[in-house]
């Protein structure tokens, strides 16, 4: 059985973590597959990526049984996560985490490394790491405080409480919560909406916002002016203008 399913359709690449018996616990093999799939997602025909889990939940985090009874170097093992997290952050197109059921530990880390999180009403999030005496990893120390602020990030990381979907929404950890029975449909709808948008521009927006996390106002003003120059030369911008003048909906190509 493949641990990561890939399905490409209408510009939407759906990556499904597929170890349902463990709520898609992450193994070295799955991380390698994820890393590869994210790299391949840079192909121009992919305009949006959806990351989801098979079965009961999104992802329960690192598979603790993978190294049971062994002494492993966490530092070395985290290299496997690094390429996935850097891949998600560097991929210049929208990546949606579609979270149903549990998103725990490094599973939550991966969801936070995506650009948008849409949660089913039954979703339960937890940082989890501190429950086994570990600190958050896989980029959570970067993403979490940027989303919820230091004080809340500290609380979530230290106490590892269960965060229900509505609470996650209030915290700003997820963008949307949708009823469980409508979840698949809402995810598909959002993915389709994005895939029909000016996806090259979305990539530039992502590059700008990612840069802004470590730039001054002056640097950002200079960098965004250049990125706007790039966006301004895109076919989609021309189409957007044209559609505006002609009072019709634009047909974006992602170029």
């Amino acid at each position: 059985m493949e641990v990561l399913l890939r399905e490409a359709k209408d510009g939407i690449l759906t990556l499904t973590m597929n170890r349902p018996e463990t709520i898609n616990a992450l193994t070295t093999e799955m991380l390698r597959e994820l890393g590869k799939a994210i790299k391949e997602a840079s192909a121009p025909e992919v305009r949006v990526v959806v990351l989801q889990g098979a079965g009961r939940g999104f992802c329960s985090g690192q598979d603790l049984r993978e190294f049971a009874g062994q002494r492993i170097s966490y530092k070395n093992h985290l290299r496997n996560y690094r390429s996935v997290v850097e891949g998600l952050a560097g991929l210049e197109k929208p990546v949606i985490a579609a979270i149903h059921g549990a998103a725990a530990g490094a599973g939550l880390s991966l969801a936070l490394a995506c650009d948008l999180r849409i949660a089913s009403a039954d979703a339960v999030l937890t940082t989890g790491f501190s429950k086994i005496g570990l600190i958050p990893d896989a980029g959570m120390n970067y993403h979490l405080p940027r989303m919820v602020g230091y004080a809340r990030a500290f609380e979530l990381a230290v106490l590892s409480g269960r965060i229900k979907a509505e609470e996650a929404l209030a915290l700003g950890l997820v963008n949307r919560v949708v009823p469980t029975e409508a979840f698949a449909e809402e995810v598909a709808h959002l993915a389709r909406e994005l895939a029909q948008g000016p996806t090259k521009t979305y990539g530039l927006i992502k590059r700008a916002l990612r840069r802004s996390a470590s730039a001054s106002l002056e640097e950002m003003l200079e960098y965004e002016a250049l990125l706007q120059e790039v966006a301004g030369r895109s076919e989609d911008h021309q189409e957007g203008l044209q559609a505006f003048y002609e009072k019709r909906p634009p047909r974006f190509q992602g170029r």
Binding site: L204, R207, S214, Y223, L226, L227, E229, V230
Partner: protein, 256 residues
């Protein structure tokens, strides 16, 4: 005609593109020779005020040509052809700008550092991985990188093979600007044109003073600056520049 590079003129800017894409623009002796020749020709061209060296979006230059190195004996290398070519580039008097995107490794990083300004794309990466081949940088890497980023980071880059991203390079003063990959060459050409439109004699004298600043005590450096200042002060361009400023018009430089 050149085999390993392409040469273009954009306004008052001479552009040389390294063009061995299959070899990742590896700087073999022939390529370095053509580069030195093309830059030398621009140096003599009165219509050119600055030069840009670039590769392509994916790779600036991924080092020396390892296959060629493998075949080269010590005696051949000691004839100094490569060193002479680097010297030609180093002694260019007009401003030289590197437009770097993708890999600038080994000789590629050294070539960029030999230039007077570096415009990097946000995908640029700088490294000196020579130690993996049992050698060390031989085109100025140990000297220029150390002067630019300091001893400790230079040690890590050259001994441990650390790769610097574009933003890290900016943070450590190794590049002037980081710009979107889509625009790096345009931005470099624009910067070059801006410089090319300045008084050519003054640009040359300023470049000379700045480059020699690193080798001199402050006292000697100030002495050199004074000499260069006096030369500029005696130029026709100084008369033109000051007059144009007072008359609120654009100066017409003569380069003398």
């Amino acid at each position: 005609m050149y085999e390993n590079i392409r040469v273009e003129t954009h306004g008052q800017v001479g552009l040389v593109r390294l063009n061995r894409p299959k070899q990742l623009n590896a700087l073999n002796t022939a390529t370095l020779g053509e580069l030195a020749q093309a830059i030398g020709a621009f140096e003599q061209d009165g219509g050119i005020g600055a030069m840009v060296i670039t590769g392509n979006e994916r790779v600036f230059a991924a080092g020396a040509d390892i296959a060629e190195f493998q075949q080269t004996s010590l005696a051949e290398l000691m004839r100094g052809l490569r060193a002479d070519q680097y010297e030609v580039l180093r002694k260019v008097r007009k401003p030289l700008i590197a437009a770097v995107s993708g890999y600038a490794y080994g000789g590629g990083c050294e070539l960029a550092m030999l230039c007077d300004l570096i415009v990097a794309s946000d995908t640029a990466r700088f490294a000196q991985p020579e130690i993996n081949l049992g050698i060390i940088p031989g085109g100025g890497g140990t000297q220029r990188l150390t002067r630019q980023v300091g001893k400790y980071l230079a040690m890590e880059v050259i001994l441990a093979g650390r790769v610097l991203s574009a933003w890290e390079a900016l943070q450590h003063g190794l590049v002037n600007r980081v710009v979107p990959v889509e625009l790096y060459l345009e931005e470099a050409l624009e910067l070059a044109q801006t410089i090319a439109e300045r008084a050519p004699l003054a640009a040359r004298l300023a470049k000379d003073a700045i480059n020699r600043a690193q080798d001199m005590s402050l006292e000697h450096g100030l002495g050199l600056e004074r000499s260069n200042f006096l030369i500029a002060f005696g130029s026709e361009d100084k008369q033109e520049g000051t007059s144009a400023f007072l008359e609120k018009r654009k100066p017409q430089w003569k380069g003398r």
